[in-house]
């Protein structure tokens, strides 16, 4: 992001990088012509001496669930595969206002439902570090685009870990901000009370620069917070002491890869004690959070996806159908993929009369308890540390037929979405299998300032170790 090159040169550089890595299947759509035009316009403006935007020339990719006017937005689904956005998402508008250059839309799991990017109408995305492995999901394309150097930063969306988990699998930084930090207007909804646009980058300051631009109040989203964006600076390292908690049950969980558990434990134990006071605390709700998450998100999704009915826009199987119910059935059966249909069915089930209290109401209670408990923890601590994912990136196809196993792997990430707190995955570690994995850090609601500066410090702390272990 320096001034030593032109926007046009940067655009060409990334366009050719994309062309060289097409097999990764990270992009759904590439806006080549428009990108070069906008880049030239920005160069002209800058050389005229006009003041430049905060993200001037930053080559940015956006997940295929975020609306960019005049461009296809399809949620990687057949049901929208020819749909063109008619307006800009608030986040996109803010990017454009600050002169970011949007290079294309990024592949993902259909309607952001999935943890491996194997549920896309456009096919799998490959992990650039090992093309036999998944990049994670649902924002797999967004993660790989940054990982493989196909753009500088990218936007994803995170409903239960869809930014942090692929960041972990790809060895980059992925932030899910506080619920309400960034307007959801123009983000195709999966589960409205969980969804939040997230940011991928190679380092924390880049994430912060984008966050500062796209966060804030919005007249088109009543769940967007009026709290104004923070000013992030990373020039002066913090000299204070962080009080940090980690969940004992989380690091001892049977699903957690032993090497990941060991690495994180030893990382925690080796943190310089003058700056980091770390304590293990007990968290007995761990086993409830994945079920609660899937009950609530599928419920919301079943309703959010009702609008895709083939009536006003999008895919329909047959223009000439006499029976309305058959029309809906045909269109939605053919328009949605397997995982999306599974979640719609599940959501309708938990909302239906007779089951509502046993599932939806109970899950809401769990969510409330989690929020209360979380507030108490943050009375005593500045941050919580957790693994991001129980394993490193798995092989393509390995878990495809076991949705339950796939869901359970969300154990560490859904917590932040259930409670609305900000969470980040930073790429600190490398497994003996060669794949990277991250550390997840969480702070209290709207404490991104503290989250990002802590993350930045931890990345600096570990740099030495990483150099020793990975660059012999």
């Amino acid at each position: 992001m320096s001034g030593s090159t032109t926007c046009v040169e940067a655009a060409h550089y990334y366009l050719s990088a994309i062309r060289a890595k097409l097999r990764l299947n990270a992009f759904v759509d590439i806006y080549e012509e428009e990108l070069l035009e906008r880049a030239a316009a920005l160069d002209k403006k800058r050389s005229s001496g006009a003041p430049i935007g905060k993200l001037h020339g930053v080559i940015t990719g956006i997940k295929d669930v975020i609306c960019y006017k005049g461009h296809k937005v399809t949620a990687a689904s057949r049901i929208l595969h020819k749909f063109t956005a008619t307006y800009n998402a608030t986040a996109v508008q803010k990017l454009l206002d600050e002169e970011a250059l949007i290079i294309g839309s990024l592949n993902c799991d259909e309607f952001a439902m999935g943890s491996s990017n194997e549920n896309s109408f456009y096919g799998n995305v490959l992990n650039a570090l090992d093309e036999g492995r998944v990049p994670g999901g649902s924002s797999g394309g967004s993660a790989v685009a940054v990982q493989a150097g196909l753009c500088m930063v990218s936007l994803g969306s995170d409903t239960g870990g869809s930014v942090r988990q692929p960041a972990d699998f790809c060895g980059i930084v992925g932030l899910k901000p506080t619920y309400g930090r960034i307007s959801r207007y123009g983000l195709i909804a999966y589960a409205s009370s969980f969804d939040q646009i997230g940011i991928f980058a190679n380092n924390v300051p880049d994430v912060a620069a984008v966050l500062q631009v796209i966060s804030g109040n919005d007249d088109f989203d009543s769940t967007a917070s009026a709290i104004s964006p923070d000013e992030y600076t990373f020039d002066t390292p913090s000299t204070g002491t962080y009080k940090i908690a980690y969940f004992k049950e989380a690091l001892e969980h049977p699903s957690l890869d032993q090497e990941i558990a060991g690495t994180i434990k030893s990382f925690i134990n080796n943190l310089p004690t003058q700056h980091f006071k770390v304590r293990a605390i007990s968290f007995d709700l761990l086993d409830y959070i994945v079920p609660a998450y899937y009950v609530l998100t599928t419920a919301e999704a079943s309703s959010n996806l009702s609008r895709f009915d083939g009536v006003r826009y999008g895919y329909r199987t047959n223009d000439d159908m006499a029976d309305l119910t058959e029309f809906y059935k045909d269109t939605r059966s053919a328009g949605f993929g397997k995982e999306v249909k599974r979640r719609i069915m599940l959501g309708n089930f938990v909302l239906s009369s007779g089951y509502f209290d046993a599932y939806f109401t109970q899950a809401q209670k769990v969510r409330k308890q989690l929020s209360d408990k979380t507030a108490l923890i943050f009375n005593d601590f500045d941050a919580i540390l957790l693994p991001t994912v129980p394993s490193t990136a798995f092989k393509i196809g390995e878990k495809k037929d076991d949705p339950i196993a796939m869901y359970l792997a969300d154990i560490y990430t859904v917590f932040a979405n259930l409670t609305g707190i900000p969470a980040i995955s930073i790429p600190l570690f490398r497994h003996s299998n060669g794949m990277p994995f991250g550390l997840q850090i969480m702070t209290y609601r709207f404490s991104e300032l503290s989250l990002l500066s802590l993350s930045h410090q931890l990345m600096n702390v570990s740099r030495q170790d990483l150099h020793q272990s990975t660059n012999p």
């Binding site: 959801r184 409205s192 088109f220 919301e300 079943s302 309703s303 009536v311 239906s352 509502f356 939806f360």
Partner: protein
């Protein structure tokens, strides 16, 4: 064998939807106006495009609260919207945003009057929700056309308790509600255009029984008359059914206005499971004490309060008071009149007499009446001070003043030479002339046909072109007749 209708009692509850007269829709900035070209008041939000979100229109909340306060409801502090999920082409999101489980206004009542006197009909609730679009089946003979202008227009649903027992009560209830929404200016109450719609829940039971019978819901009642007709039909149908050994089944029926009957639309088995849950896109909306005070302070006095005021303080007959309070424009006009004249009864007579018949003749409503109230007040004063008589005032001066819009009655009367003459000399001359011209009638009067005084009086009026002061003329006539 005659059917013993009187053995049964009907139980009726009404659900009335009223479209609110807000400028924009309940959750978007699109115009909520009626009558625009199809699909012009739409946006990504109304059409439920991917990524679009609702934003609550605060004015709609105020209107709902106004209605709640007018009906004596308790107003909830913390309010939620729920999603009612079902598929239909005129429902863009696949769910309707409604307050089904948590209404903003609870309880309350509406006062009605029928031949049996006055009664408070209890309300269950008033809640906010959005309207659906319109499916049009007549535009094209092969396809259904969809107009989404109406989608998202704010509605309040006013739900009564099953608290009415006759079609007349239901008729009076809807009439009162319509008056109230119009008076508050929150809905135009036009049932034919569908801006006010009514569904009726009807059941029967043997008189004296406590338990409710199986209910039938009747829809498509697009006039107050049809509400009454449909309920009348439904009550008879159910009684006849039960008397002939049948059983009422829970169903939804539709009213057919062509023959005043109802027919079955669907039975309960086909009912939807709407999978209600709180809409996660909308945070709770709070009605603070401050907001409640502000809404209350901005509300005009309610018609019921005004009836009491006119009757008890201004001593108007109850009937006059009620007719004035029937519509907002008449109330406003009357309130202006009594600011400038103390003759309240005369003011009421003018409004309900000459003004009303003038408007009736022209087919206009009170809103369209052009003579300003302070001008009419000068005419009332002129009559009450005896300077012109009422019939001259209403037949000659009033039309001229209406024409002008603003005018002083004294000036108009002077200009037209219509001021009453109180000069005893002039009047005596007119009286003499009349009596001289009708010797036979005078003789009859003398024989005792005292009623003829009216005839003489009429002739004096004619002769004087209405200017003779009637009091003095009567007095002189009597004197002179006695003298002859």
């Amino acid at each position: 064998m005659p059917i013993p209708y009187e053995k049964y009692e009907a139980v009726i509850g009404l659900e009335v939807h009223a479209q609110l007269l807000t400028k924009s829709k309940l959750f978007s900035g699109d115009s909520a106006a009626f009558g625009a070209d199809a699909n012009t008041n739409i946006s990504p939000i109304v059409l439920a495009y991917p990524g679009a979100l609702p934003m609550l229109n605060k004015r709609a909340v105020e209107y709902a609260v106004k209605m709640g306060l007018a009906c004596g409801c308790s107003i909830e502090h913390t309010n939620y919207f729920a999603r009612k999920n079902y598929f239909y082409p005129d429902l863009p999101k696949g769910y309707q945003i409604s307050q089904h489980t948590t209404p903003v206004c609870k309880n309350g009542f509406v006062k009605i009057r029928t031949a049996n006197g006055e009664r408070d009909i209890l309300l269950n609730r008033i809640h906010l929700e959005e309207d659906a679009g319109k499916s049009l089946h007549e535009v094209d003979d092969r396809n259904t056309s969809l107009d989404y202008n109406r989608a998202g227009v704010p509605l309040i649903e006013i739900v009564s308790e099953p608290d009415m027992h006759t079609a007349e009560e239901a008729f009076a209830f809807v009439t009162e509600l319509r008056k109230l929404v119009r008076y508050l200016g929150i809905c135009d109450g036009n049932m034919e255009e569908g801006s006010m719609r009514c569904d009726a829940n009807v059941s029967i039971r043997i008189k004296g029984e406590k338990e409710l019978g199986t209910k039938v819901e009747v829809k498509n009642l697009n006039s107050i008359r049809n509400v009454k007709k449909a309920i009348e039909f439904e009550i008879s149908r159910m009684i006849e059914l039960v008397e002939s050994g049948g059983k009422v089944i829970q169903q939804t029926r539709s009213f057919d206005a062509s023959n005043d009957t109802t027919f079955s639309m669907r039975t309960k088995e086909e009912a939807n499971d709407y999978r209600y849950f709180t809409d996660p896109d909308l945070p709770p909306f709070i009605i603070t004490e401050e907001l409640l005070h502000a809404i209350r302070a901005a509300m005009p006095p309610l018609p019921e309060e005004l009836v009491r005021k006119y009757r008890d303080l201004l001593h108007l007959p109850e009937y006059d008071a009620r007719v004035i309070c029937d519509d907002a424009a008449t109330i406003r006009y009357f309130e202006l009149l009594i600011q400038t004249t103390t003759h309240a009864k005369a003011a009421a007579n003018w409004l309900l007499g000459p003004v009303k018949s003038f408007l009736n003749d022209k087919g206009e409503s009170m809103d369209e009446f052009t003579l300003d109230a302070s001008s009419l007040a000068t005419l009332i004063e002129l009559v009450e001070s005896g300077k012109v008589n009422f019939s001259i005032a209403s037949s000659r001066i009033f039309p001229v003043m209406v024409e002008k819009g603003t005018a002083d009655a004294l000036e108009v009367a002077t200009e037209l030479n219509l001021l009453q003459n109180s000069d005893a000399g002039d009047i005596a001359q007119w009286v003499d002339e009349v009596l001289l011209g009708m010797p036979e009638k005078v003789a009859e009067y003398k024989k005792g046909k005292k009623g003829l005084i009216g005839l003489f009086m009429g002739e004096v009026k004619k002769l004087s072109k209405g200017k003779a002061d009637p009091k003095i003329a009567t007095q002189l006539l009597t004197e002179k007749l006695e003298q002859r």
